[in-house]
């Protein structure tokens, strides 16, 4: 699995373990990071994460519109806590490269 970029990592953190629609994910990202993200950036980043095996996507109909829901994949749910721990250890200087 390809290591996510900082933006993709923030998206994965905002996603959590629940299934979230694209629009709700953008709002959650904004609340958690304080930065706004365009829907174009969000969907392209989530597409890359899906291609990398981090998330799964499911399309659904909500009235007259289509909605895409994202959820951490099994491999993503396993790898993300390890990646978070690695990043925090790196920040604390406990990892020597």
């Amino acid at each position: 699995m390809k290591v996510p970029s900082p933006t993709e990592f923030d998206l994965l953190s905002a996603l959590g373990m629940r299934e979230v629609s694209g629009r709700d994910l953008a709002k959650r990202y904004e609340e958690e990071t304080g930065k706004s993200m365009s829907y174009g950036t969000l969907y392209t980043a989530m597409r890359r994460l899906k291609d990398g095996g981090w998330v799964t996507a499911r399309d659904d109909e909500d009235g007259d519109r289509r909605v895409r829901y994202f959820k951490l994949s099994g491999a993503g749910a396993t790898a993300l806590p390890k990646l978070i721990k690695l990043q925090s250890d790196f920040a604390l200087g406990e990892v020597v490269v």
């Binding site: 694209g22 629009r23 829907y39 174009g40 392209t44 597409r47 519109r65 289509r66 909605v67």
Partner: protein
């Protein structure tokens, strides 16, 4: 019709400036020599006039569209969304679904802003901003895809 008007205006202005320059014996060029004000003053003025006129025509066309009689809130604030919908034909089929999703999400944002009693100018500006960022994101994504495909070919270049 408006796009045709703008395009024709642009062509006439640029061609006109080049024609006049050819008549007076100056070569229409953007070389370094052309930027020397004392030598190419006439050329620079004509080119700036042509470009300014074309930009002005474009701005007037957009303003006319925004303020034309019979325009409703929906027609003005939907203009950025219609632009995004037109852009979907320029990208690959796999990504067109994403554009549809983005348009639906922006429509929901528009409905929220209308409920919050924001002015149509504000809504238009917000949607235009989001559409611009979306288009830039897809252009950047496209450039990245092209570069990632071209780079492996570099190994076949003669050393």
């Amino acid at each position: 019709m408006k796009i045709l008007f703008f395009t024709v205006t642009l062509i006439i202005m640029i061609s006109g400036s080049h024609f006049v320059q050819s008549v007076i014996g100056r070569v229409p060029t953007f070389t370094h020599a052309a930027l020397i004000w004392e030598e190419q003053e006439g050329t620079l003025i004509l080119q700036m006039f042509g470009i300014s006129a074309a930009v002005l025509a474009m701005v007037l066309t957009v303003l006319h569209t925004m303020t034309s009689a019979g325009s409703s809130i929906n027609s003005i604030v939907n203009a950025p969304l219609n632009t995004l919908a037109a852009m979907r034909w320029l990208i690959s089929r796999a990504k067109r679904d994403e554009i549809d999703l983005i348009i639906h999400d922006l429509k929901e944002d528009k409905a929220e802003m209308l409920c919050q009693k924001h002015s149509k100018t504000f809504i238009f500006l917000v949607l235009s901003w989001h559409v611009t960022r979306t288009i830039c994101a897809y252009v950047w994504d496209g450039v990245g895809s092209i570069v990632s495909k071209v780079i492996p070919l570099a190994k076949y270049l003669p050393k």
